[in-house]
Amino acid sequence: MNRVSLAVSAAIARVTESALGPYQTAVIRIGFTATWLLFLLREFPHRQELYGPDGPWDFDLAQQLVGSNGAFTALMWSGSQVWFETVYALAVLTSVLLLLGWRTRTTSVLFMVGVLSLQNRSVFVGDGGDNVLHLMCVYLVFTRCGQVWSLDARRARREGEARARGERVGPDRAGPALWAVLGLVLGAVTAVGRLDGDPTIPVILWMMWLGTALWWAVDRRARTDQPRILLDVVGNIAHNGALLVIMAEACLIYATAGWYKIQGSRWQDGTAVYYPLHLEYFSPWPALADLLSASGTMVMLITYGTVLVQVAFPFTLFHRRVKNVLLAAMMTEHAVIAVVLGLPFFSLAMIAADAVFLPTPFLRRVGDVADRARARLARAVRRGDHGTRVPEPRTPEDPEPAHVGFTA
């Protein structure tokens, strides 16, 4: 009994005193925002057809559907062209900002608003990849996803260094300004009844806005450290809860995909993989598809392997090494799907979701490699300015891992 209560109190200490998985949350932040950003840029020429007020799924049709299901979308606040272009541009901008990790507490909320606004506006053009982003952008709001690899982290480090040198750090201006502007918008939108649909997202928006205000007030006004520490604890708890939900969601995706496949006759007879490869909509490289499906044994191995990996993955989380092997297998399979089935954004979103399970040492190594590459680039640029060229020092480590996990 005593052992149990000790374990429980240790667990409580763990989830309250720190936001776990800083590298994992940072890598999914980068992964999901990069996926959405690349998608928005790729569809930029087609944005009117997909989400515009005069596209096939026009403003009127969308209004009828949204009126019946209450989904959140800022695009329904006005049917004008200008508003549509503004929202699309803001969706691009917030993806960039969250990717870079600028004011992640706020930009993660704005990123969610951008994703939901476009996707809920036209639900019938999306696929599994959109579905992943839809869910994850909501969960991401509750995480402290800017602890590493972000402009937020850099700002915190510089402020800390300045304080250590005894310099005075000026008050933050951008934060309160951003908060005030967004508060005005949120208040106005609520007042005119544009948030009267399903309450989930409006509640999240108000909660975040009020939470930020509370945080700021406590940080500046509180006489003791206690309220600040409490807010920090609450932030950690929310982060750790959201991280758990993200992991559970990824497991549910694989479990559902795997267990339903087991029930299918084609997955049983080992021919399933052959069929998507020969659908008109999923065969950008017919010759490659033919090559992959030339051998029946090969198709069966891939078919059985896919089911095996998907069903097994959630259970392997209890064994680090086996989990990592399966993780590598799944990321590879998604990379192959990206090309062979012509589903690059779906695959990118899935790889980003997988990345939440990557081990910390690996992610740190990737971070170091990226850091060195950036420093080398900066040096090269500086030297280029001076017009002298010196051979680059070779780094001892293979820079190859930089490609894994980063989903650009």
Binding site: S5, V8, S9, I12, E17, S18, E43, E49, L50, P56, L61, S68, N69, F72, L116, F124, V125, G126, D127, G128, N131, H134, V138, T200, T224, D225, Q226, I229, L230, V233, I237, N240, G241, L244, V245, L252, T256, A257, Y260, K261, G264, S265, R266, W267, T271, A272, Y274, Y275, P276, L279, E280, Y281, S283, P284, P286, S293, S295, V299, G342, L343
Partner: protein
Amino acid sequence: MDAREEGSAVRHGPGGEPHDAPAADVPPRAPEPEAEPRTGVAALSLRYQIAAALALAVVAITVCVHTGMVFLHVAPSNTVTKQHGEAIDDWIYPEFEQNWKLFAPNPLQQNIAVQARASVATADGRIRTTRWYDLSAEDGRAIDGNPLPSHTQQNALRRAWDFFVATHDAENRPVGLRGALSESYLRRTVELRLDRADAAGEGGVVERVQVRSRTTNVRPPKWSDERVSDRPAYRVLPWWRVPETREREDAR
């Protein structure tokens, strides 16, 4: 269940750790600068610890309920979902809807091509019916050799047709609001494509459109001794009037 256990454990927490509680009474600003500031519940006084425990309980319960709801949403119909289907739907829709039956239980084994033709009022006052345009084949050609297929090529028409089929009965009669919406959506999608293909021709106006699907089995693999029919099956929808034409006629 876990949530409640964990929550109550938290509430007992402060009492169970008598050694940690006094730590909170230490003045918050310690004189030695190199000392790490204490964080977590251990650094809080009892009052704040109770607040933290409450937060932990709320988050733990929310996480468990949400994960449970999502599980029941993606699980096959079962005893629990039959009894509490409404509560699950209330929690899930609209923002947490999801479907992960990716190529499952069986992958689609047929190519479903959506085709369309138009009835055009020509410049010289006659009515002409165009040939069938194979819009899915156009999509297929746009996807061929394309490393980044657009949603307009891969999803728009395909899913517009799925939406139509899901909201219509075998006699092509719409079911509910969504049935009506899907009809307008499919018609507008097809109009856009026919317009791009310049189906109306010089000076012509598309007055009506007709849509059909052509379903063909994917040929079984070469190494398989299976045989399937290679005869296409058609589903032909009635002619639909293009509403803009009506407005134009009224204006005349």
